[in-house]
Amino acid sequence: MRVGLFVTCVNDTLHPGTGRAVVTLLERLGVRVGFPAEQSCCGQPLYNTGYRRRTEPLLLRHAAAFRGYDHVVTPSASCAAMVREHYPRIAARAAADGRSGREAAALAEATASVVPRTYELTEFLVDVLGVVDVGAYFPHTVTYHPTCHGLRALRLGDRPRRLLEHVRGLELRELAGAEECCGFGGTFAVKNAAVSAAMGADKARAVRDTGARAVCAVDNSCLLHIGGTLARAGSHVRPLHLAEILASTDGRVP
């Protein structure tokens, strides 16, 4: 089984540690991991801001980069949702707009090839590998924020929680209002900064109220916002991607 790591542009640029953690974790579980260097951004920031047409080249690039891999695994629920939920829409719209047969067909083919093989990390672990105990050791208090795309687009359900519950030494703290959006929303964070900040402040307060040492999620973009808000408030709660906890065997906070 060959797995292509779809690291995402945010992780590639700002959170390489998350990518390294996924590699460590998957290899520990006996998976052969590859990183096609042709990969880039899935197009989510453009698409979510209304630039559907400009997203199309990135869709084609993404699908081409991962050709030949049995599975495409990503440590980002929102990027997985972009591929699985929106790529088919982009392809369908191109056809509906009456675009040239070749362009529409290429988008449709690329979509059909990559969508069924794309997994968010916890889906891949639980559904494909069938593991919930990944042999991790992390003797710290942690709270979990289920991100909107993980919760409502991918419907990850209790997969992340089951993985966390099997981490030795980890104490999971319940997060009040967990299902509520943190207020990041991509360009929303700057376009509607006041509302975004108000939502972030409420989320950060809920995180602090758990008394946990770290807040984890399946998406670093949400953690960027939550962590940035916590840091501005002088909090020492660490934002951590779930993969970094699952990769840990020595108990150290990365």
Binding site: V7, N11, D12, T13, L14, H15, P16, G19, R20, G34, F35, P36, A37, S40, C41, G43, P45, L46, Y47, N48, T49, G50, Y51, R52, R53, R54, T55, P57, L58, R61, H86, R89, A96, C148, L151, R152, A153, E180, C181, G183, F184, G185, G186, F188, A189, V190, K191, N192, A193, A194, V195, S196, A197, A198, M199, H225, G227, G228, T229, R232
Partner: protein, 489 residues
């Protein structure tokens, strides 16, 4: 003079103001959190909720796909039952029709049931200009009217007011409109409700003309349905001699039987009740019972423009339950007024730009008033994929495209105000499509990492106003990979 939504600022500005209002935030938070939990409980009681939801969406889609057929059937059946059907292409025409009908009765006062359509058309202002006084009789609408305020919620237009404020409004303003508030009025909700009962009873008993909307119109039978709680609806629908109902054309359902779906979904989604206290169903006029004249004004006012949009069309399924408002984290912080129309919250963000067309900076900003968190879609009883429509409308703003405005198909150009963003997105798209360029940008950022500023310049400063910037790592993932693994793809 009643206030209107004309000239409202774009969403971000109005919302920013609202987030700074601590009282408003507290009122909204208390109210929305109360109803959220209760709705979830009411929905959980029905094991077939998802099946009801699927049926509702399909019934509405069937209706919309054959709207001309169902509207003409409805007209036929209302007429046969003794009612009169009027057609209004826009708000002004609806207001003209209603004003004319009221004038024809010789009356100068009307009682009104809460109706979204007449909020949308600004009927009260039009009546006022014609010398006709309209009394709002729904408790929340009464509060809004007395305070010369604007509604901020579909179900509970005065949700932004707490009980103390309501008490003050009643005490200060009721006397200007009729019977004053009782001496020593407290802020207990029961006392406030009692004050409204006393104040409005006189109006109900004297009313000769009632004005309402309707939740559903049944094409097959010509039946109109009003779902309510307080009994003010029943008063307005049964006591006056003339009843005028202004209803959007999308409120039609094909058959009597279809009500079995909506009368289960609506109360649980809206007030979190198994059934709301009162539902009135009437078909035309009935001898010796209720109004002797029934006028149904069918309103377009942009609905056919939304209908022409294949993605946006689903917004017309909306049954105005307000569940999406109550779960929306953005609505909870921004409040209803920021949405600049009687339709606030997620549904307003997709409905208003479609009904009004690309009119101003407000309509342009609404599709962006969301984090796309999806909570609205999850609770919507007619399964409107609000995030999908938001994205579609964002595209219209960013890239332009085909729209129908007042029945005329046109191509809109990308919004002018967005040239900087478009250039940035163009550059980002190009960089992402050229991984060597992405790599170069990453290395540049890595080298400049010690310069990490506390405040970013320009529009990005909005990030650093409330959040720290992340630390840029010295080495990107792709550099780490090629350094440690070579080119092993």
């Amino acid at each position: 003079m009643s206030r209107t939504y004309v000239g409202m600022p774009a969403f971000p500005r109005a919302a920013a103001q609202a987030t700074g209002d601590a009282t408003l935030r507290a009122n909204l938070r208390r109210a929305t959190h109360t109803i959220r939990a209760r709705r979830a409980q009411a929905v959980a009681e029905l094991t077939d909720w998802e099946e009801l939801r699927a049926a509702a969406a399909a019934i509405k889609d069937r209706t919309l796909r054959h709207l001309d057929h169902y509207l003409t059937r409805l007209e036929e059946n209302v007429t046969r039952a003794g009612g009169t059907v009027h057609w209004a292409a826009d708000a002004d025409e609806a207001n003209r029709i209603v004003t004319g009908l009221v004038r024809a009765t010789g009356e100068s006062e009307v009682v009104k049931v809460k109706s979204m359509t007449t909020q949308e058309t600004g009927l009260n202002t039009a009546l006022e200009k014609a010398g006709i006084r309209a009394y709002e009789t729904d408790l929340a609408e009464l509060i809004v009217q007395l305070a010369d305020d604007l509604p901020s919620h579909i179900l509970v237009p005065a949700i932004h007011r707490g009980r103390g404020e309501i008490r003050d409004i009643f005490r200060d303003r009721m006397g200007d409109w009729g019977r004053p508030a009782p001496e020593g009025l407290t802020d207990r909700p029961a006392d406030l409700a009692e004050a409204a009962r006393l104040h409005l009873r006189e109006k109900f008993l004297a009313a000769k003309v009632g004005i309402s909307g309707a939740n559903f119109l049944v094409a097959e039978t010509g039946t109109a349905v009003v779902v309510e709680s307080e009994g003010n609806g029943r008063m307005c629908l049964t006591l006056p001699e003339t009843l005028i109902s202004v209803v959007g054309i999308e409120k039609v359902v094909p058959a009597w039987r279809d009500l079995e779906v909506f009368l289960q979904l609506l109360p649980r989604s809206s007030t979190a009740e198994r059934m709301n206290p009162y539902t009135s169903l009437w078909t035309g006029t009935t001898d010796d019972d209720g109004p002797r004249a029934f006028h149904l004004v069918l309103l377009d006012n942009g609905r056919t423009d939304a209908l022409a949009d294949h993605v946006g069309r689903q917004a017309l399924r909306c049954i105005r339950c307000s569940a999406c408002l109550n779960v929306c984290p953005v609505y909870e912080r921004a409040g209803g007024h920021a949405y600049g129309s009687p339709y606030p919250g997620p549904i307003g963000a997709i409905l208003t730009p479609q009904l009004r067309g690309p009119a101003s900076a407000l309509e342009e900003s609404l599709p962006f008033a969301s984090t796309l968190c999806g909570a609205c879609y999850e609770v919507c009883p007619v399964a409107i994929d609000i995030p999908e429509v938001l994205l579609h409308l964002r595209e219209r703003v960013a890239e332009g495209g085909e729209v129908t405005v007042r029945g005329v198909r046109t191509r809109v150009r990308p919004a002018k105000r967005r040239s900087v963003e478009r250039a940035a997105m163009g550059a980002a798209g190009w960089t992402f499509d050229h991984p060597w360029a992405l790599r170069r940008a990453q290395r540049l950022a890595g080298r400049a990492r010690r310069l990490r500023p506390r405040r970013l310049p320009g529009p990005l400063g909005a990030w650093t106003d409330s959040r720290e910037l992340p630390e840029v790592p010295a080495e990107s993932f792709r550099d780490w990979w090629s350094r440690t693994r070579g080119n092993a793809g």
